[in-house]
């Protein structure tokens, strides 16, 4: 029986696009979180990290609920968007750690030589940290490529028209999860400070 390879190409396309899309804002946010200190930093960090703690089933349910109230059909573009949102925390966490562990001397030297923050980012910080960033991107790509639970869930909801979980239940779970992520980030930050 001939094998239908089209789902593989679709998955590769979705995974590639989702990774690239999450990479750009992910890098920017990682840089800001790693180098800047500003009010509300922990909250932004919690929101950015939150999808990391979200099980694919819950993410899929949210996708169904969003689609049910919108005019858009579930096309591969939506899949890319969902994938990008799903792996965004991976990119942020991986890149932030990469920026944080790099030698600050390089960036300070560049600043003292008259380089703007933009130039410091593109010419110094990014080339110095590109290996862990690419590693994070590879993991993100693999994660989107192998994501299956949410796809099955969405397919089930689209074919039967039944949402698998009540909205209220999902919302409560999400709020509790968000608080847990915030606490986790705070504890991690405190741990680094004490070290």
């Amino acid at each position: 029986m001939p094998v239908d390879w089209s789902p593989l190409w679709l998955s590769l396309r979705v995974a590639f696009c989702a990774t690239v899309i999450s990479l750009v804002p992910g890098l920017w946010l990682a840089w800001v979180l790693a180098r800047r200190s500003f009010p509300g930093r922990e909250i932004i960090q919690a929101i950015a990290t939150f999808p990391y703690a979200l099980p694919p089933l819950i993410a899929g349910t949210y996708c169904i609920l969003t689609l049910a109230h919108s005019q858009y059909a579930f096309t591969w573009y939506i899949g890319v968007l969902a994938g990008a949102v799903g792996v965004f925390p991976l990119m942020v966490r991986g890149s932030r750690r990469a920026f944080q562990t790099r030698n600050l001397n390089y960036e300070n030297a560049a600043r003292s030589l008259g380089a703007s923050e933009w130039r410091v980012f593109w010419r110094i910080a990014l080339p110095c940290a590109y290996e862990p960033i690419l590693a994070a991107a590879a993991i993100a790509f693999a994660r989107v490529l192998t994501e299956f639970a949410a796809v099955v869930l969405i397919a089930f909801a689209l074919t039967t028209g039944i949402s698998p979980f009540p909205v209220a239940l999902v919302s409560v779970i999400v709020i509790i999860a968000l608080m847990a992520v915030y606490v986790s980030n705070r504890l991690e930050h405190e741990g680094h400070t004490h070290q």
Partner: protein
């Protein structure tokens, strides 16, 4: 005028409070580990934010806490060479220098970079990445890169530059140099001015030889490693003969007259190891104390003799060779060698 007056608290316990002017030439910031040298230099460069004070460079305000002026590092024109390697690892030596010379047009940039590569003997390794350089070449490259940007103040943070390299820097740039170091010899050889920094405070400043020979306080003397530092009480004061008699725990000495003190006062007395003399024969000259030799240790240009009561005398290798079989050791304390703190 270039002037630094800043205060900065670094949790949990350290605080920096300094106020000094930077003159032309080289100024050394001498202090041991944790004295605040790096915090000071980073504050001037703009990498760290002081809590109070003002920094002026050629009368331009770089930082002023009162008016909330805080220029970013890129607009301060302070060259900064860090303690550890800061060459961009993904660029060659030439690219590192080109990065710093970006504000000039292409031809001018090329000329400046080539000139700097030649001056610092880096032309042969211009296409090498930093990991292929040895430590002295890395240092020369870091300094050349800082200088190619034509800084108005050069900050060197214990980067390992020696006297000849500092002299070479001064030939290239007229900008004042502020270098942090824990090497007292380097301060004496290469600096025009010297600051003694301890626990974030300046203990003394002045010409290096003056500071080293005449420490102003016990703390300064300890920081400078003056080996003979003792407490004594003033037994007699004679302003006519310009002398005093000082009672130490185990002996008494004639010292210089001490203005502003009364008989019975307790004072600290310092004497450089090089200023004390070994004597022999009988009767011993005045101000001589018979001591027991505890240990002799070789130094670069002298031998340090450690006697009983923690008294140290530095003598030349020749003199030590002549006297090493002595059974009775006598140390003379010339009154002019005793410095009352």
């Amino acid at each position: 005028m270039t002037h630094v007056r800043i205060g900065r608290r670094v949790p949990p316990r350290f605080s920096l409070e300094v106020d000094f002017a930077i003159g032309p030439g080289a100024t050394a910031v001498y202090g041991c580990y944790g004295a605040g040298k790096t915090v000071l230099l980073e504050s001037i460069a703009g990498f760290a934010h002081p809590d109070s004070g003002r920094i002026l460079l050629d009368d331009a305000i770089l930082f002023d806490a009162a008016s909330h002026v805080q220029l970013p590092p890129r607009r301060r024109f302070c060259g900064y060479v860090a303690q550890s390697d800061s060459l961009f690892p993904h660029m060659t030596v030439r690219q590192n220098l080109v990065f710093a010379a970006r504000r000039w047009p292409r031809l001018e940039r090329h000329r400046r970079v080539t000139e700097m590569l030649d001056r610092f003997h880096l032309a042969a390794c211009a296409s090498t990445r930093p990991r292929g350089l040895d430590t002295p070449a890395k240092l020369r490259c870091s300094i050349a890169r800082a200088l190619v940007a034509e800084p108005r103040l050069l900050l060197l943070d214990e980067c390992g530059a020696d006297e000849s390299l500092l002299r070479q820097i001064r030939e290239v740039t007229p900008a004042p140099i502020l270098f942090a170091t824990a090497d007292l010899d380097l301060c004496c050889e290469a600096a025009d001015q010297m600051l003694l920094l301890e626990a974030g405070r300046i203990l003394q400043r002045g010409a290096p030889r003056e500071v080293v020979d005449r420490p102003a306080s016990v703390e300064a003397a300890r920081l400078l490693g003056v080996p003979n530092l003792f407490q004594a009480s003033i037994a007699a004061l004679d302003p006519v003969r310009n002398s005093s008699r000082l009672e130490f725990d185990h002996f008494s000495l004639i010292g210089p007259y001490i203005p502003g003190h009364l008989k019975g006062d307790r004072v600290w007395v310092a004497a450089a190891a090089e200023s004390l003399r070994l004597q022999s024969g009988s009767p011993p000259p005045p101000n001589t104390v018979a001591l027991e030799l505890v240990r002799a240790s070789d130094r670069a240009h002298s031998v340090l003799l450690e006697f009983s009561f923690d008294i140290c005398v530095a003598v030349s290798h020749d003199e030590f060779a002549r006297r090493k079989d002595n059974k009775d050791w006598q140390v003379e304390f010339p009154p002019e060698a005793l410095r009352v703190l």
